[in-house]
Subunit: 307 residues, 4 copies
C-alpha cells in the first residue's frame, strides 16, 4: 500500500465519497429477517498486520455475516482433514449464481467450489462428522480469531431455516447423489445457523487477518494455519469469493475477498492488512453495492491491488 | 382393431413371443423395496368397451402402479378444478428424464407436464387442497373405477419416502419458486404413498377403460368424465406419457399410454379397449422392456395404432 | 369423421369463425422475404382418400412451404436408405425450440428428431449422397405427389441463405461433431432452397394424402411407400411435428401435423383425409395462429381426432 | 520474489524436476498441424523488469502461440477503443470449456470474457473495423513488444481454418445474435491466422513484460499502455486466463497467466517479471501439463504468488 494519505484519512474520505451509491441496490429480501435492516448503514474497518486498526461509520455494529462464514468454515475443515476437503468440493469458479441447481445436477452433485451454497453445504457436512453443532464451532472459531464473543441471531437463523427451500433443493440433490453424508435437515439447520452469526466490521477485519499474515494472527499472536494455506485460501477467494461477479471484483478491486448477503465484504491485502466493510444494499449478484464501491476506492487510493 | 386371430389367441401368442426379451432390462433399484420383485413376471389384460375381458400370465397379480397413478390423480384434479389445472402445469413433452431438475429451474418451477415428477407433485399439491390424504383419494378413485379394493403397499411407500431425495429436491425447488402451495413433506409423503398403490393388470385395464370409451365406464356403467376430457387425456398420454421415450413409443406402438417404474404400462385404443401389461425389467428410460415389446406386438397384430 | 355438416359447409363455417384470430400473431420476420407477405391471407383445403377435394379462401395461392418440406425430405430418405436414417437422427420430441443449439451440443451433435432444424439438416446431408441438388429432388417428389409443377422461390431461398446464421451454427456444430458428412455450405444451400419450395393448400393436401391412405396415393393412384411407414411418419408428426407446441397441438387438435414458418400446416386424418391450411401470422413457437385455430375447429366439428 | 537460489539456478532446477511430468498429457490433435510437434519439448524464459533475462531448454525455439495471442489482441482493442470493449464482451469466468456454445446461446451471443473463443472472436471483430488483416496487426504488435520479427505459420493457419467447425458455430451464433459485425469467414480467417503466430519463450516473456511493469516496456523503453490497464489485464488473466482450470491455477501457482493449446503459458509477477514456458502435452482443459508444473515450482521456489 503506497499512498500519501494516512489510513484514517483514507477511510474518512471513502466514507464521504460512497454516499452517492446509496439507493442503487436492494436489501436482501429473500430472508425476511434481513429485510428489516436499515439500508443506509455503512461501516468499515482496517486492521494491519503490524497492529494498526481503524474503524469508521457503523464499523462496530454487528451485522449478519451470512456467506462470509463459509470462509471460516472452510478454514476449520482444512485444519481438520486437510486436502481431503478437495475430494468433496472443487476449486473452480462456477460461472453461475450462488444457488444454481442445474450445474450441480450436470456434475453429479459435486460442488464447483466451497463458496457457492452447494459447496458450503458440503463443508458443513464435513464438520458434522465431529460435532452435532458445527455452527457453534464456526462461531467460536471466528470469535477466537477476533477475540470477541460472537452470537448467532436466532431470529435470522429461524427465518432462514423456514425459507431455505432452494438450499433444501440443493442439499437433497446432493443427498440423492451421495455427496452429502448427513441428514439434509441437520445440514440445513447448521448451515442456516452458521450464516446467522453476527459480528462487526472490526471483528471481521481481526478474524480475517491471518489470511493477510501468512496464517499468523497478530491479534492472538498465534499461528492458526500454515502460510501455504493462507495463500491458497486467498487464491480461492480471488477466483470464487464474490459470487458470479468475481471477474468484475478482481478487475475493479484486485483483492481476494468474500461477500455475504448481509451486506458485508472482507478483503485481504496479502502481507499487509484485512479490510471489512458493511452496507446492506445489494447488487443483483448479492454483493453490497456501497461495500464494493468502498473497496474499489480503497484499492485505488492505497494502490493495494495484488495485480 | 382388424385381425384374424381372436383376442385370447393374440394374448396367448404375445405371451409366448416376448419371452426372449427377458434379461434385457433391469428391475428398478432406486426404490429398495421394488428391487426384490421377481424380474420374470409377465401379465397382460385387455378389456374392451363392449365387455370382453382377457387376462394372461400374471395378469391377476398386484404390482406397484408407481407413475401410472399420475394419470388418475390428474383425472381427479381435472374433475375438481377443470382447466385451472393448466395454470399450474404445462402440456408439453419435456424432452428430458422424468426427474430432471435443470429444466424446472430454467422455467421458474413450472412443470412441463403432469407426468414428469415435478408435474405430478403439482397435481398432488392441488389435491391436498381438499384433503390431507390425497393418496387415499387416488386409491379409492382407481378402486372405484375397477371395482376392486386396492391397497397401498406400506413397505414400498416407506421405502420411497426414505429415499425420495431427488423428488424432495424438485419439491423444494418448486416450493422456493412458489409453484407448490403445501408443505414439501406433506406433498412428498402423499406422492410416495400414491405411487405405492398396487393393482393387477385386470384392475388397471378396467380402471383405464373410460379413456377408451369417451369418459364412460362400461365397468361401472357410469360416465365418469366428459368425452372431451378423455380425448385430451389421451393426447397428453401420447405426447408425454412414456417418459423420454414417448417418440419411440408412438413410433413402435402408436397408442396413448402411461408407464411406471413398477413395470406396468397401460395403453388405450380409443373407442375400443384398454390394455394393461406388467413386467418388472425396465429400459434405461424407466419403461418395462417386455411390456413395451408386448404392446408393440399387440399393436402390430391387431392393427390398432391410432396413426 | 362424424359430422352433420357437409365438408364444404364445415370449411365455409371455419373460414368465417377464424377471422377474429387475425392480429394475434406475427408474420415471420427473420427471413426478410417472408416478412412482406399479406398477414390476412387464409386458405384451407381438404382432400379425402376417396377423392373429394374442397378448397376455400386463398387455398389455391402458393405460399412458402418452409419446414413442411422436412416431412417430404424425410420420406425420400426413408424410401432410399430405410431404417439407416435412424442411425443419424432420433425420434424423440426435443422439448426445445426448433433452432436450439444447447441440446445438440450436449448430445454430441446427434439431432433429436428429423423435424427440428438439426435433424432436417442431417436428412439433407443424407440426400446429398445421391445428388448435388436434393432441393430439386424434394421439389420434384412433392410435385409428383400433388401432380403440380412446383417452384422454388429464388428470392426467398437467397434471403434464407444470406441470413441462415443460426442454421450455420447448427450445421458447423454437427460438422465438428462428425454428424454431418458434406460441406456445411452445400447442406445450408440445399436446406434453404428446399424450404423455399412454394405450393398451395390444394397441392399440399394432395401431396400429403398418402399419409392418410396407408402409403397409397389416390391422386396418382400408386403406392408411394409402405403402410407401416405411413403409420410411423404419423407417429413422428404427432410427437415432433409442431415445434415445441406439439403437446398443445395434440391436446387441442389431436391429429398428426407439420407446420412451417411460412404459415402453412398440414394435418392427417388417418384413413380419411389430408388437410392443409395457410395463414401467415405465427405464434411465438412459429406455428400459424389462424391455421392452428382452423384445425382445432375442424377437429371439433368433424370429431376427427385420433384420440 | 524472495529466494535463496539465483534465477538461473531456479530455472535449471525446474528443468530437471519437471521431466517426470512428460507423458501425462496429450499434444493437441484437433488442429492436425499441431499434432506433429515433438511432445518432449520444454523451454522456459524469465525476463525481469530490471533487465535480467534467463532462458533454459527449448526456450528459443518458436512454437504456436494460439490462445496466448488473445491477450495481445485484447490489449490492442483496449488501446484503440478503451472501455467500449466491455460493451461487447464480459469480464467474468465462464465456468465452462473454452469452446462451449450453450452458455453463449443462453446469454444472447454475448461472450463471458475475451479469453474464451467467443470473446476472442468478438475482439477480432473489433479489430476488423480498422483493418482487413488484424492478424498482421497482432503479429506486428507482439513483434514490436519483443523486438523480434514474428511469423504466422501458414500451414497451421490453413489447418485451423479448414477444421474450425466449432469456432464457425460460435461465430455464426454470434452473427445471428448481432454480436459479431463482420463476415463470419473474415473473422474466422483472421482469428485462425492470429492463433498461428509463432514465437519463442524468450520472445513471449519480453512481449508480456509491460504487464509486470505497469504498462511500461523495459525492452523497448516505452510506455505501451496505462498502469491501470496493466492491473486490469492481470485481473482478467487471474480470473479468466487459464480456460476452465483458472481456479486450480490460482490455487497452485497464484499468478495471472494465459495458456494456449500450442503448449505455451505466459505468467506475470506484477512489479517483477514475466515468465514464459512451453511444453506441448496438454491436460484435458487444454493447458500444458509440464508448463503448469514448471510455473507451480517457480512460484513455490521464488515465493512469488500474488496471494
Amino acid at each position: 500500500m503506497k499512498h500519501e494519505l494516512s489510513l484514517p484519512e483514507v477511510l474518512s474520505q471513502i466514507e464521504k465519497t460512497v454516499k452517492p451509491q446509496f439507493g442503487k441496490g436492494q436489501v436482501a429480501d429473500y430472508i425476511p429477517e434481513l429485510a428489516s435492516v436499515d439500508p443506509k448503514k455503512f461501516g468499515m474497518a482496517v486492521r494491519t498486520v503490524n497492529g494498526q486498526e481503524y474503524v469508521v461509520g457503523d464499523g462496530d455494529e454487528p451485522f449478519s455475516a451470512q456467506s462470509i462464514t463459509k470462509l471460516f468454515a472452510l478454514g476449520i475443515a482444512l485444519n481438520r482433514i486437510g486436502d481431503e476437503v478437495w475430494t468433496r468440493v472443487g476449486k473452480e469458479p462456477s460461472g453461475t449464481p450462488f444457488n444454481y441447481l442445474s450445474q450441480l445436477e450436470h456434475e453429479a452433485g459435486f460442488p464447483r467450489n466451497p463458496f457457492i451454497n452447494a459447496g458450503a453445504l458440503a463443508v458443513v457436512d464435513m464438520l458434522l462428522k465431529g460435532t452435532r453443532r458445527p455452527d457453534l464451532t464456526v462461531r467460536d472459531y471466528m470469535g477466537f480469531l477476533c477475540q470477541s464473543a460472537l452470537t448467532i441471531d436466532e431470529a435470522v437463523a429461524r427465518s432462514e431455516i423456514d425459507t431455505a427451500h432452494k438450499n433444501r433443493a440443493i442439499a437433497n440433490l446432493m443427498k440423492g447423489a451421495g455427496t452429502l453424508h448427513h441428514e439434509v435437515e441437520a445440514v440445513i439447520a447448521a448451515y442456516c445457523r452458521q450464516c446467522a452469526i453476527t459480528l462487526s466490521c472490526r471483528d471481521l477485519a481481526r478474524a480475517a487477518l491471518p489470511l493477510a499474515a501468512g496464517g499468523f494472527s497478530p491479534v492472538i499472536e498465534e499461528t492458526v494455519f500454515p502460510t501455504r494455506q493462507a495463500r491458497r485460501l486467498n487464491a480461492l477467494l480471488l477466483t470464487c469469493g464474490v459470487y458470479d461477479s468475481v471477474g468484475s471484483f478482481a478487475y475493479r478491486v484486485g483483492l481476494p475477498a468474500k461477500s455475504g448477503v448481509g451486506g458485508g465484504i472482507v478483503a485481504i491485502v496479502p502481507g499487509q492488512a484485512a479490510i471489512a466493510v458493511w452496507s446492506p444494499e445489494l447488487d443483483r449478484h448479492g454483493t453490497s453495492v456501497v461495500g464494493f464501491a468502498a473497496l474499489e476506492a480503497f484499492s485505488q487510493i492505497t494502490n493495494c491491488s495484488v495485480l
